[in-house]
Amino acid sequence: MTLLRRYGTLLALALIIAVFAVASPGAFGSMANLVNITQQMSLLAIVAIGATLVMVVGEFDLSVSAVVSFAGIAAVSLFGAGFSIASVFALVLVTALAMGTVSGLLVARFAVPSFIATLAFGTIIGGLTFWISDGATLFSGIPPAFRDLGRGALFGLPVPTLWLIGTAAIVWLLLDATEFGRRLYAIGGNREAARLVGLPVRRDMVIAFALSAGLAALAGLLLAARLGSAHPTGGGGYLLSAYAAVFLGMTAFREGEPSVPGTLVGAAIIAVVSNGLTILGVPSFLQDLMTGAIILAAVLVRQFGRAGD
């Protein structure tokens, strides 16, 4: 019972995988497909890990999807202008960090509610993206070496999966094993207390927003690499799913706090469900019904553990 309560959502993930594997042993359960899922969840998970940082300090960053789109469009435009891969990465990531810093300042320094601050700033970023791209999908001028950053495999693992592992490891260490991470959790847990003991609340919050934007931009770059094109609203789908992953993850471990392992579990649930249902050939509308139901069940499983408490 305690196990169910504590690791309910994790058990739910295992159960979902097991059910799909039984239903479709050849296709879903194959090692190749399971590896493939880690690749499919990688971009969402990277965005969600960024969102986790902001959620840890108790705020929302609704500009992530705008940043994802922006990064792709900016990168392809810069390639068009002849920049090298390294300088494109550097420029886009630095710009995104700056954007995150602005969001962070709006929230931490000017006390604008993060919901409205990041939504409005995300709209501005969206406008910029349209300006750069003229609203069109951009294809041309992408160097193959850049595309290889988002496809193919290395050491038997898909490249996006490797990016995810790297990102998750770094942010996990940051949150869990450093003073900075402890400060972020303290700010999120009780901002007043954090202020009273003299933590640099504003600075740390700004850093959290900057990192969130930076990770969203990384995801945007990888998306452009993977698709070989950049869409001015290509990041639109990431916003709600990223937060869904974080919230699912919050039900997975500890006292309902956002955490990197939790977010990974959340993103995995989302990816596994949509992969499994597609492989089983479930019709579109049923996929929606089942996705919603499975996610609810994954969260509720924990409640039943709790009822025995």
Partner: protein, 520 residues
Amino acid sequence: MTGGSEGHQPFLVLDGITRHFGATRALDGADFGVAPGEVHALVGENGAGKSTLIKLLSGLYQPGAGRILIDGEPAVISGPPAAEALGFRFIHQELNLVPHFDAVGNAWIGRRHPRRGPFLDRPAMRAHVAAVAARIAPDLPLDRPAVRLTPGQRQMAEIVRALMTEARLVVMDEPTSSLSETEAERLHTVVRQLAASGTAVLFISHRLDEVMALADGYTVLRGGRTVGAGRIREIDRAGLVRLMSGGSASTGSAAKTDRPLSAGATVLAADIAFGPAGARARLDIAAGEIVGLYGLVGAGRSALLKALWGAVPAHGIMRLAGRPLAGGPAGRIAEGVIYVPEDRRREGFAGALSIADNLALAHLSDFRRAPRLPMPARRKIDAFARQVGARLRLVAASLDRSPLTLSGGNQQKLLFGRWLGRPVRLALIDEPTRGVDVGAKAEIHDEIRRLADAGAGVIAATSDIEELMALSDRVLVMNGGCIVADLAGALLTRDAVVAAAFGHASADLSQPQNQAAAVA
């Protein structure tokens, strides 16, 4: 102007400080000084400006006028980091722990953590905290998140936090208000050790006996102004009370008033299993009786009251005047049961509503425009709030403001005030006077007695043994979630109560400084 301890000059001086909130003059010319190695008491009625003064020292507020001198030099404390850098440590009145951090995590926030390379060294973190806690709070569960600690345990976690590193000044805003005798005594010992090692301690308390026993010097605030200061040995309790109240109020001595005991019929009969890990209680409360509930921090008093209130699951029998109690808090309110929670911030009131609305919240339907129209009449709510305010001497700029703008003691009065004027059959009261000044404490005690005189059964949990002895006709002592003693009449003595509270737990508490009996 100040009373330093033998020969020391004050190193921290406040001179003519003011701080206004709109029209409220929280501080209006306060002077104050504290010397190294001195235990200095800051006393005053609720709303006198004590906490505001502390917040100025911690850099949370800036003074409107006046000077802060440190080592004779004018200083600006720009914010909490600056105060921390000066070596000032604070335990604020409203506790400020990170809810999901345990005591170890909370103790290290804002400090330089022990590290291995760039990463935290968790064993070292815990070892250091455990060493500090062993001195003052040996029973404190170090690995439990703060949300799941009792207010008393949270108080101890804050104290541990403040004593983690060397300090020049330790400021404690009512640190003992939710500690029982034993724990308070342990804290006193530590305070004396701190002072002996040259640290200045600024101590705020409404327990005047504690102040008399512990402090070297004192400062009295009234209406934001310093109205007296000096050495504690040159004044007595009554003198302090006179200064605090401006000579108008009663001495507020916590003497027991003899009430004719009209041992009425049984109002409450309960035999329940409740709360964490096998806690079990059997009790009978008679009409007109005030039953005190005592125990060490974490003994299970609050858990028992909550179970009786129907706010946490409990199994067993609960009968009010012979009829089973059901339906959670709402059902109990309908039956004439009332409840005062212990943690005003978390359980007390909704910050989004005004003081008046908070007072009306528990029985909104009493304030309808018309009996069948579920729309509250502003006028009726305001009238009720004014009446409560007057009866409990609430110091508030306006009843339309949020309760969060009130001083700690005044917030506490709200929790009791919301039930005034209703017919009561059973009152469940948890720490009724936490942080309330002596004058208002007497008022609240009178109200409680009035309830009992009108035929209600009263259970009052308290950590303040003075209050327990002054108020109770009978005392139940809890330990480890069970009632271990039922004392009344001749058996009801301080010694007996304290001894019972230790019970079998006394084995853990065998350090020499814990001679609780000697205090009695």
